[in-house]
């Protein structure tokens, strides 16, 4: 069954305290080269038949992400 991946990331202008906490922990572990961490969500959808990009875009924007603060990246099997 085709698998569709949807990545949800905070918009660049929205601060990410969780990502900053991860960055702080990396620094304490000695990974000084990491300059920034942004935390997001990764959804894997199994869909029947040929994935419909428009429908998946709608699913991503109306439920999986909150467009007020988040952006979505859709990855269809042919991508």
């Amino acid at each position: 069954m085709p698998r569709v991946v949807v990545d949800v990331v905070l918009k660049p202008e929205i601060s990410d305290p969780q990502g900053q906490a991860v960055l702080g922990a990396l620094g304490r572990l000695g990974h000084d080269g990491v300059r920034s961490v942004r935390q997001g969500k990764h959804f894997v959808l199994e869909v029947e038949g040929t994935p419909d990009r428009a429908e998946l875009q709608q699913i991503a924007e109306t439920l999986l992400a909150n467009p007020v603060i988040e952006d979505v990246e859709l990855h269809l099997p042919t991508d």
């Binding site: 601060s15 305290p17 969780q18 906490a21 439920l63 999986l64 909150n66 007020v68 603060i69």
Partner: protein, 223 residues
Amino acid sequence: MRIGVITFPGSLDDVDAARAVRLAEAEPVALWHADHDLKDVDAVVLPGGFSYGDYLRAGAIAARAPLVQDVVDRARQGMPVLGICNGFQVLCEAGLLPGALTRNGHLHFRNRDQALRIERADTAWTQDYEPGQRIVVPVKNGEGRYVAAPADLDRIQGEGRVAVRYVEGNPNGSMRDIAGVTSEDGRVVGLMPHPEHAVEDLTGPSTDGLGFFTSVLKAVVSA
């Protein structure tokens, strides 16, 4: 006057909200999220808690519940709606109120008595207060940081949509100290702090919260 209180799976403060309605001398009406039945109520309160365990995003799944879609339709026709804490998150997710609520800036759950300033004393839920009045009610949240893109914040402020602000300390990193916002017509209000926990001397830090529940009685009569 019948005021509905919606219960979702994971609601915590629906009973307290119903008691606040009763103390304001209105009739609380229990509503169930999965029904398509608003039971002829005149106004609706969405209570605090952790609907659907805060899965996906706080309030996101509850915002798609059948009854919430009915609430959205009625709110657009002017029915007063109050969202408290998780209820505020649901109203933002449902698109009735601008902005979003995210993880507290310091990443800790914060539970304390909180001073607030009433910025808008002319909404359906705040007209029993004076403009600029200071009130103290409990705040308790882990995902209460009000955020929006800077341009959206400018617009929200410019349109006078900030209903309540944190004063004497911001408990969660909310942008511009925003504790609550209102719809364009002032009929829908959402806030993270809990006025329903400050309605009796015995259990609350004050009785300052009662004004939200008495305000709406006048709002419905005048509508």
